[in-house]
Each structure stands twice: as structure tokens, then as C-alpha cells.
């Protein structure tokens, strides 16, 4: 039997804007995926530790505070340290268009900005997450 896609949805930064993170978590769950939501104000260290512990296929970061250029690279570094090479890092939030290519260059798989549908996220994950044995 095929393993369900396992996703960690995480909310770094000091702000409390968790509407998007919670809506996405719910939509992915309704699409049959296993979702772990970290809650608010998680440090990159906490996020990557949770990803290791939960053995996830991908990590989704929701960032609305403007700190995305600091937080994504730091999470990627920690993922490398922990050997999470086949885990996909994607994200969403208030991220200006000109920052998206820069984030992809350093290894963020995809960025979903406001207006993206939950269906688009679901389809992206179904296509890109390795089919686990």
C-alpha cells in the first residue's frame, strides 16, 4: 500500500498570522495527506528537528513577516546538516515577486503567493513528492 504524503507545516517569525498556514494544513489533510502543524513562532532549529522526528516528505513554511530571505536559507542549511536531502521545502506568504527566483536558486522548491489555490498546492505536492514505498 502506498504511504500517504507526510507534510510539516511550520510558522516561523514573531507574527501571529496563522490563517494561511491553518487553511493549507486543513486542505492538505482533506486531500488525504498527513499533516503536522507546528504552531506559531517556531525557530528554524525547532522546525527541522520536527521534520526529522516526524519523518516528513516535505516542509511548508508560512512567512508573512518579511523575514523570508533569512528564514528559508537557514532552514535549508539545517536540513542539509540533518541529511534531509530528499525532503522538499516549499513556502507561502507575503513574498515579493523579485525574491522568488532568489529563493528557488538557493533550493526552495516552490513559493505560493496570495491568490494561489489550495488545489494548486495539492497538485504540486502530488507531482513532486517521491512515491514512497
Amino acid at each position: 500500500m502506498e504511504r500517504k504524503i507526510r507534510i510539516l507545516i511550520a510558522k516561523p517569525g514573531l507574527d501571529g498570522h496563522d490563517r494561511g498556514a491553518k487553511v493549507i494544513a486543513r486542505a492538505l489533510r482533506d486531500a488525504g495527506m498527513e499533516v503536522i502543524y507546528t504552531g506559531l513562532r517556531q525557530t528554524p532549529e525547532q522546525i527541522v528537528a520536527a521534520a526529522v522526528q516526524e519523518d516528513v516528505d516535505c516542509i511548508g513554511l508560512s512567512i508573512l513577516s518579511g523575514a523570508h530571505m533569512t528564514l528559508f536559507p537557514r532552514v535549508l542549511d539545517l536540513m542539509k546538516e540533518q541529511g534531509l536531502d530528499d525532503v522538499i521545502l516549499f513556502g507561502g506568504g507575503i513574498i515579493p515577486d523579485e525574491d522568488v527566483p532568489k529563493l528557488k536558486e538557493v533550493g526552495v522548491a516552490e513559493i505560493f503567493t496570495p491568490g494561489a489555490s489550495t488545489q494548486a498546492v495539492i497538485e504540486y505536492l502530488r507531482q513532486h513528492v517521491r512515491s514512497a514505498a
Binding site: G13, G16, R19, K22, V23, A67, T70
Partner: protein
């Protein structure tokens, strides 16, 4: 049988005849665009409202004249004919020096009150040099770590002459103490200064989620500030009970109305339980609502809010002073409706939302800038937002008469439906034992999440269209992007340096003594406000004051709902 007073134009008989002879042939020829029409809150709206919709609404009891109980038509007899609303644009970014310049710019351009946005570390009670503040200093608001920053923020602005609103919650008492000490140093009398402190911790647990302490000690801090202001700073509005953030988090209009008013009830109840006379403090409670896209739903919401509050205050709490019955509110247009796509469209959205706030009888208004979904507002965008209010005030004519939509079958009916929906939620929360208990159970949090998810699904099904996002997405000119205000990291460096200088030059024994007295006093249940004011005078930092109380009150961890 309809009891309408004007049988010629709207009896059920006449309506039946209209349906048969006029409506049905039309529907056969041209069906309606949708099966069900709903507001942006997914609330169903009928095809037509008629005099029969006014059944059950008693003009004298439920609507009445403006300035008269239950204030459905407004708290002032003359509406906006007497005085326009206060145009209060929220501002704050970078250092206290940067924001001080923006304040002076706004005052010079006709703004009539100040409104301060603090950065995330300040909102969380953290100093700029805390490791948790990295990357966030001065980004979403102004950084204030001590009295020195507050002095710079209001430098050259006479506090007896302007009113200041401060959007701060978990560390509201500490920031308020700083403001009072700045006034004291300017020689401004505490009895004359006026302004508004948001200080609404309940909606933090419900929606905005910037908390420090658990709900009960947090409420104690709030009540301490109520008492202190009532005695010492009588013109200060010490709480702005806020639906804005509840709505932004995805609630419906009815939920915004219900949870906000139930929060208001909770504050009044705690004040009374603490031994205060309701009429001594209730007139200083104000409210803060969202102005969302659905025009009539918003207007009905404001009218229902006044009616519910008047009755709650008179009948539930036995308040006798009419000022305790009158719901005064600030309005801000809905940030969540702004789109990054085709950002200039936001000017139109903001204008229509602001118009709903004005027609709903708001006392003050913030209009969002077109670029706020991308970054903090640029000066140009902020000016257009202010000009939008001035156009409504001086060009549209909507201020010529009081509550012009009263008597509309639709608006009166919708007002009553909003009221009924909110009262049902209030009853449920009463049954749970109050808002603090409801928060413990995650009740309002879950209701809001449910509504946010439903709206998202309706949008994805194409039932709700957002121009530029899921409809009309063709962009004629990709280069049309507004200029953006960027806060560099220099702000943080300067702020951290200033803080290091402060820590090196202040009387550290005095700081330690003031903090010890604060913690000891809080543990004994003494009013924290005078203790905080002494800490501020000694130049204790925000983080130091908040930490001293963490040792007494503990820290909040959100349960998993």
C-alpha cells in the same frame, strides 16, 4: 398576515401578485446568475426586501432617532454634520526618529489624530537586542524598547493637543506607562491628555495571537490599567475592543460582531468584579471594527453593534449613564482584501470599504494604502489613502444627513439578522462561563478557522470572485507596480546600539530596585500601573518589565485545537 402600515405598496397579496405577473415571466426569460446570492461572509441575501421584512421591527424601540437609545442610528444627534470622523492613519516603521518624521508629515497634511504601529518585537514585549528579534526590528512598525525611544517618537508633538492611538496589547500597560511619563516630562497634565490604547488581550488569544501571559493574569493587567486610568487619566480610552483582527483571521461579519461584543462584556464583567462602578469606567471603552468588502453587511453590522451594546449595558449591567450605553468605534478597511495582483485596484476597494464605515457612523477611520499587501505604505500611497477619506467627507455628500440608509427594508432587516446571529453566539459563550472559558476551549478560534476555510473553498469553486486574482487576471502593463518602502537592517543596528548605550549609562541599581518592586507588587496583587510607571522612569526596558512579570504570571502556550 403583514402588519405593514402602507398596504398599497407591499402587502403579501401585492407581493404574490408581483411574483406571478412580473417576476416569474422574467425568470423564465432570463434566469438569475446564481442559485444563491450571499455576502462575502457567505450569508444568504434575498432577491428583494419589502415592507413585510420590517415586521417585528419596532421603530421607537429598535431604531429610534440618532443620539437616542438604542443608538441604532448613531450616537450623535447630528451624525457627521456636527463633526466629521477623525481621520486617523496608522503609521510606524523603522526607528522612533523615522516615525516621528512621518507623524509630523501626516499632521501637516490635515490628519487629526495619531495612530502608532509598533514592530513585532515590541508587540511581543521583546527588546530590539533580544535574539528572538533578529530580522524583525522596525520592519512592521516602530521599535520601542524603552522610554528613550518613546521620547524620540513624540518629540516636538504636544501631547495635550493631539490624541494618540496605540496598537499594542500584551505589553500595553508598559507602553502606556511610557506614554504617561513622556507627557509628564513635557509638562502635559495626565488629566488633559487623551488617546486610545488597544489593550484588547482577549482578541489576541482569539485571532491576532500576540500574547505573553496566560489569559487570567493578562486580564488582571488590563483591569489594573482600567482602574489607574479611571482615577488618574480620565480622558484616556483604555481599551479598544477589536473585531478587526478577528475578521482578518477569517471570521464572518456576524462572528466579528459577536466575539467583539462578548469580549466587551467580559471586560465590563471583570471591571465590576474588581469593585469598579460600571458608569465610572464603561464610557471609556471603545471598539474597533473592520470595514470589509460587502457594503450593506458592514453597515448593518455597525448599526447592530450599537443596538446590542446599548441594551447589554443598560439591561445586563444596569448602567445608568447614557455614555455607558453608547458604542463608539474606530474602523479600518480590510487589509485582507487588498491584492498584490494589480495593486492599484486596491484604491477602489478601500474607497468603498471606507464609505461603508462612514455610512455606519464610525467615529474614526483608517484607510489602507494600496501597497500594504506588498510592504509598509510609501508616503505617496499613504497620502492617497488619506485623500480618499477627504473625498468621502467633502465631495460625495454622504455626510449631509444622518444614517441615510435607515428605513431601507434591506438594511433594517439585515441589521436585525446580524443582531440575532450575534446574540446567539453571545448566549453560547455565556453558557460556557464567559469568554476566557470559551478561549480555553478554543471555541472562537475554531469557529473562525471554519469560516476562513469555507471562504477559501467558495473562492476556489469560483463562487466568490476576486478581481485580478481569480477573475480578470489579464494585466495590461506588467510594469505598473507602486514604489515600495524598504526598511533596511541599519535600523536594527542603530536601535541595538542605542539600547546598549542606555544600559551602560542608566542607574542600574535603580533599575533593579524598580523591577523587584514590580514583581513583588504583582505577586501581592497590587495595581501594576504605578509600579510600571516607576520602572519606566528608571529607564527599565520593555523586555525587562515583561520578563519581571513572566516570573510571576508564567507564559502562555496555545493548546492544540
Amino acid at each position: 398576515m403583514s402588519t405593514t402600515k402602507n398596504p398599497a405598496s407591499g402587502t403579501s397579496e401585492a407581493e404574490a401578485s408581483w411574483q406571478e405577473k412580473t417576476l416569474e415571466p422574467t425568470l423564465r426569460k432570463m434566469p438569475e446568475r446564481m442559485e444563491q446570492f450571499t455576502t462575502t461572509s457567505l450569508y444568504p441575501i434575498k432577491r428583494l426586501y419589502t415592507p413585510s421584512d420590517l415586521d417585528g421591527i419596532d421603530f421607537d424601540e429598535d431604531v429610534n432617532f440618532p443620539g437616542q437609545f438604542p443608538y441604532t442610528r448613531g450616537i450623535h444627534a447630528t451624525g457627521h454634520r456636527g463633526r466629521l470622523w477623525t481621520m486617523r492613519q496608522f503609521a510606524g516603521f523603522g526607528s522612533a526618529f523615522d516615525t516621528n518624521k512621518r507623524f509630523k508629515y501626516l499632521l501637516a497634511h490635515g490628519q487629526t489624530g495619531l495612530s502608532t504601529a509598533f514592530d513585532l518585537p515590541t508587540l511581543m514585549g521583546l527588546d530590539a537586542d533580544s535574539p528572538l528579534s533578529e530580522g524583525e526590528v522596525g520592519k512592521c512598525g516602530v521599535a520601542v524598547s524603552s522610554l528613550a525611544d518613546m521620547e524620540a517618537l513624540f518629540d516636538g508633538i504636544p501631547l495635550e493637543e493631539v490624541t494618540t492611538s496605540m496598537t499594542i496589547n500584551a505589553p500595553a500597560s508598559m507602553i502606556l506607562a511610557m506614554y504617561f511619563v513622556v507627557a509628564e516630562k513635557q509638562g502635559a497634565s495626565w488629566r488633559k491628555i487623551s488617546g486610545t490604547l488597544q489593550n484588547d488581550i482577549l482578541k489576541e488569544f482569539i485571532a491576532q495571537k500576540e500574547w505573553i501571559y496566560p489569559p487570567r493574569p493578562s486580564m488582571q493587567l488590563v483591569i489594573d490599567s482600567f482602574k489607574f486610568c479611571t482615577d488618574e487619566v480620565p480622558r484616556w480610552n483604555f481599551v479598544s475592543v477589536s473585531g478587526y483582527h478577528i475578521r482578518e483571521a477569517g471570521s464572518t461579519a456576524i462572528q466579528e460582531l459577536a466575539f467583539t461584543l462578548r469580549d466587551g462584556i467580559e471586560y465590563v464583567q471583570w471591571g465590576i468584579d474588581a469593585g469598579m462602578d460600571v458608569d465610572a469606567f464603561a464610557p471609556r471603552i471603545s471598539f474597533f471594527f473592520n470595514a470589509h468588502n460587502d457594503f450593506f453587511e458592514e453597515i448593518a453590522k455597525y448599526r447592530a453593534a450599537r443596538r446590542i451594546w446599548a441594551r447589554v449595558m443598560r439591561d445586563r449591567f444596569g448602567a445608568r449613564d447614557p455614555r455607558s450605553w453608547q458604542l463608539r468605534f474606530h474602523t479600518q478597511t480590510a487589509g485582507v482584501t487588498l491584492t498584490a495582483q494589480q495593486p492599484y485596484n486596491n484604491v477602489a476597494r478601500v474607497a468603498i470599504q471606507a464609505l461603508a464605515g462612514v455610512l455606519g457612523g464610525t467615529q474614526s477611520l483608517h484607510t489602507n494604502s494600496l501597497d500594504e499587501t506588498l510592504a509598509l505604505p510609501s508616503e505617496h500611497a499613504a497620502t492617497i489613502a488619506l485623500r480618499t477619506q477627504q473625498i468621502i467627507a467633502h465631495e460625495t455628500g454622504v455626510t449631509n444627513t444622518v444614517d441615510p440608509l435607515a428605513g431601507s427594508y434591506f438594511v433594517e432587516k439585515l441589521t436585525s439578522e446580524m443582531e440575532a446571529g450575534a446574540l446567539e453566539y453571545i448566549r453560547k459563550i455565556d453558557e460556557m462561563g464567559g469568554m476566557v472559558e470559551a478561549i480555553d476551549r478554543g471555541y472562537p478560534q475554531k469557529e473562525i478557522h471554519e469560516a476562513a476555510y469555507e471562504f477559501q473553498r467558495a473562492m476556489e469553486r469560483g463562487e466568490k470572485l476576486v478581481v485580478g486574482v481569480n477573475a480578470y487576471t489579464e494585466v495590461s502593463d506588467e510594469s505598473v507596480q507602486p514604489p515600495m518602502l524598504v526598511i533596511d537592517n541599519q535600523t536594527a543596528e542603530l536601535q541595538i546600539q542605542r539600547l546598549a548605550d542606555l544600559r551602560a549609562t542608566r542607574d542600574s541599581d535603580g533599575v533593579a530596585r524598580a523591577l523587584d518592586l514590580l514583581a513583588a507588587g504583582a505577586a501581592e496583587g497590587r495595581n501594576t500601573m504605578p509600579l510600571l510607571i516607576d520602572c519606566v522612569r528608571a529607564y527599565c526596558t520593555l523586555g525587562e518589565m515583561c520578563d519581571a512579570l513572566k516570573a510571576v504570571y508564567g507564559e502562555y502556550q496555545e493548546p492544540d485545537f
